[in-house]
């Protein structure tokens, strides 16, 4: 009896201790964030739809954090790929009465009520990455991002000029509107050629590679592969080699591997939306808005891309990707 009571109290204490521990950690972090004596001193929340651990969104986060540090603002970052959860995260930020909100809108309809609620509460909102069409209507002061259709068009155009006629557009996230737009853009840009969509699962790299390879083996007419994610680009390169195909590989987004592959010629080019700036700029813009009521873009999206990484500039960019800013 006594023994079990002791066990019981241990069970209650363990979570307490655990939470206390993490609390200390959190406290320390907060202190570090609020560097005193600099200009800003605002609290901004960044709420995105990127999965945690995603290479692309890590760079966005790095950008936002760096800007926060330089401006002297406190920046919190949270994310959920589920629109409903993302809207709840926005609600939480509004409850906290943050000084500004940065939101990526992969599914604008679903976020509408939360974003407009934030605007109504007098919180300046800047949308990033996706959702350019609805940004102004929801009351955001600016949109910082890349127009997916424009970027896709650019990629399709470039692939066409390299002689590709039958391009495989590899979608790694079923149900992501932005990815579909890229492929649709590529279709529009690739004059006189066809674009075929292919579905793979980013969480299962082996399968993703073999799916691409199987497609290349079964259809020899494919002479171009457009991937929409830097990791998938590496799978595509391996798949092209494995299938003995001569298809050119191009990709959206960048990481060190892709930069290296562009340098070596395995990847023809990378469409870079320079997502670091999608994290960095909104924090700067919000600080300027709060201090100086500046608004940029004039109602038009502030485009961060597409920038193209080709053999010419790959070496410099590669060095930057290692720093987590490209």
């Amino acid at each position: 009896m006594r023994k079990s009571r002791r066990l019981l109290s241990a069970l209650v204490l363990i979570p307490l201790a655990l939470t206390a521990l993490t609390a200390c950690q959190g406290g320390k972090k907060n202190e570090a964030k609020t560097t005193p004596g600099t200009s800003g001193g605002y609290t901004f929340a960044v709420v995105t739809h990127g999965g945690s651990g995603d290479a692309f969104w890590t760079v966005v986060k790095n950008g936002a954090m760096a800007a926060g540090k330089q401006m002297g603002d406190k920046v919190t970052y949270s994310s959920s790929g589920d629109p409903q959860q993302q809207s709840q995260l926005i609600d939480a930020a509004v409850n906290q009465k943050v000084d500004g909100l940065v939101v990526s809108m992969a599914n604008p309809d679903a976020l509408k009520s939360s974003v407009t609620k934030a605007v109504a509460a007098g919180i300046p909102v800047i949308t990033i990455n996706s959702g350019a069409e609805d940004s102004a209507a929801f009351g955001a002061i600016a949109h910082v991002g890349q127009d997916e259709t424009v970027a896709g068009k650019g990629a399709g155009d470039k692939l066409g000029s390299m002689g590709a006629h039958h391009v495989l557009c590899v979608i790694h996230e079923a149900g992501n509107v932005g990815l579909e737009q890229r492929c649709a853009g590529a279709k529009a840009g690739l004059t006189g050629g066809t674009v075929e969509n292919l579905q793979v699962d980013l969480n299962n790299p082996q399968a993703a590679q073999s799916t691409i390879q199987a497609k290349l083996q079964s259809d020899k007419s494919v002479d171009g592969v457009l991937t929409l994610n830097a990791q998938v680009a590496s799978f595509a390169v391996a798949a092209v080699k494995g299938a003995g195909s001569k298809a050119k590989v191009a990709t959206f987004d960048l990481n060190t591997d892709v930069a290296k592959a562009v340098e070596s010629g395995d990847i023809a080019f990378a469409v870079d939306q320079q997502q670091y700036t999608q994290g960095y700029l909104p924090i700067v813009l919000l600080t300027l808005y709060k201090q100086n009521l500046n608004t940029l873009g004039g109602g038009q999206p502030i485009l961060t891309g597409p920038g193209f990484v080709t053999k010419d500039n790959a070496a410099q960019v590669e060095a930057l990707t290692e720093k987590g800013t490209r």
Partner: protein, 347 residues
């Protein structure tokens, strides 16, 4: 061997004590957990304990809870449903396509989606009882099929990967009011889903503990041979449980579709495990035959509090999953320990 290890017949435990009797309840571990988690966040964040904060973390807890309850009943009945999460998406997309794309009346779309969900639940249940294969395998199959179907049909119909314009359909407004609106309490907007959640928790608890069907749920999960041999319609019970889970998916899918007015084709994928985790935190045994609806709701509550609480504390959200995992382990340990205590207290 027949060595005389007989329990002393005349030895009686005089009084069990209130604590010990409480400890025998499956949900007590989750209750403890919920109190600790609440205290932890409430102490550090004034927003978390404010009205708006409470409304905020009850919001995700409510929809998760509405799913966790039927999933818990199913687990008590000894089965799993891995297709429960993606079925939420199927329902939402069905409603979205029927209303937004074909302009159907919202109520009509809801009825059709319900019929579809119940049919899917029946399909799951019938296959499980008929083939006697583990429900893990059967519903994994349904899970994958629905995932493909969701994307395939949505793309075929809309050429995009989402069904939208749900709010343009006739009778959208009254349906929204019932399933997705907010209720103002003392100047704070609470989601109406919270009321649904509380009502369903009460209903499920009553069914589980105070009806014949509830008795059957425990028995088919605890010892299906025994249940069958005393005349419990085990197959029917399990099929009804699968259909109940599907009905829960219908409710949550409806809530999502009406609230968001657009539904993505990948909605709900991965959520199925969260439902199971909430049920397990709430004291459900993975092996069946034991658990409670209140517990599952508490599990969902813990989830909601942690999910939003991390935001309120401004922590690095990268650690969210770590925290969830640690919590799951703790919950399982607590349950195991509490169950041992319960058995001790009975001997």
């Amino acid at each position: 061997m027949a060595t005389a290890t007989a329990a002393p017949v005349d030895e009686r435990i005089k009084n069990l004590g209130v604590t010990r009797q409480l400890l025998a309840r499956p949900e007590i571990g989750a209750l403890l957990g919920a109190v600790v988690v609440f205290a932890f966040f409430a102490v550090q964040s004034s927003v978390f304990r404010s009205g708006a904060g409470v409304a905020n973390w009850l919001d995700p807890a409510s929809t998760l809870g509405i799913m966790a309850i039927p999933v818990a009943l199913l687990m008590i009945g000894g089965e799993f449903d891995l297709s429960a999460g993606v079925m939420v998406g199927t329902v939402g997309l069905t409603i979205g396509l029927l209303t937004g794309q074909y302009g159907m009346n919202t109520w009509g779309a809801l009825v059709i989606a319900l019929a579809l969900a119940l049919a899917l639940g029946f399909f799951n249940g019938y296959l499980v009882v008929r083939t006697k294969l583990p429900s893990f395998i059967i519903t994994l199959g349904t899970f994958l099929m629905l995932q493909g179907l969701n994307l395939g049909v949505t793309k075929a119909v809309t050429d995009t990967v989402q069904a939208d314009a749900i709010d343009t359909a006739p009778a959208y407004r009254p349906a929204y009011d019932i399933f997705a609106s907010t209720v103002s309490v003392g100047g704070v907007e609470f989601r109406v889903t919270i009321l649904w959640w509380i009502a369903l928790t009460a209903l499920a608890t009553w069914v589980l503990l105070r009806t014949r069907f509830g008795n059957w749920i425990f028995s088919v999960g605890g010892n299906v041979q025994a249940a069958r041999s005393v005349g419990v319609p085990a197959a029917r019970t399990k099929v009804v449980l699968f259909m109940t889970t599907a009905a829960g998916a219908w409710l949550v899918g409806t809530m999502s579709a009406l609230r968001l007015t657009s539904i993505q084709a990948n909605t709900g994928i991965g959520e199925e495990l969260i439902y199971i985790v909430a049920a397990v935190i709430g004291g459900c045994l993975l092996t069946g035959g034991f658990g409670s609806a209140v517990g599952a709701s508490l599990g969902a509550l813990i989830f909601g509090m942690v999910q939003q609480g991390i935001v309120y504390l401004g922590w690095d959200s990268d650690w969210f999953k770590f925290f969830l995992g640690a919590m799951l382990l703790l919950a399982v340990f607590t349950n195991q320990f509490v169950r041992r205590l319960a058995e001790e207290s009975r001997r």
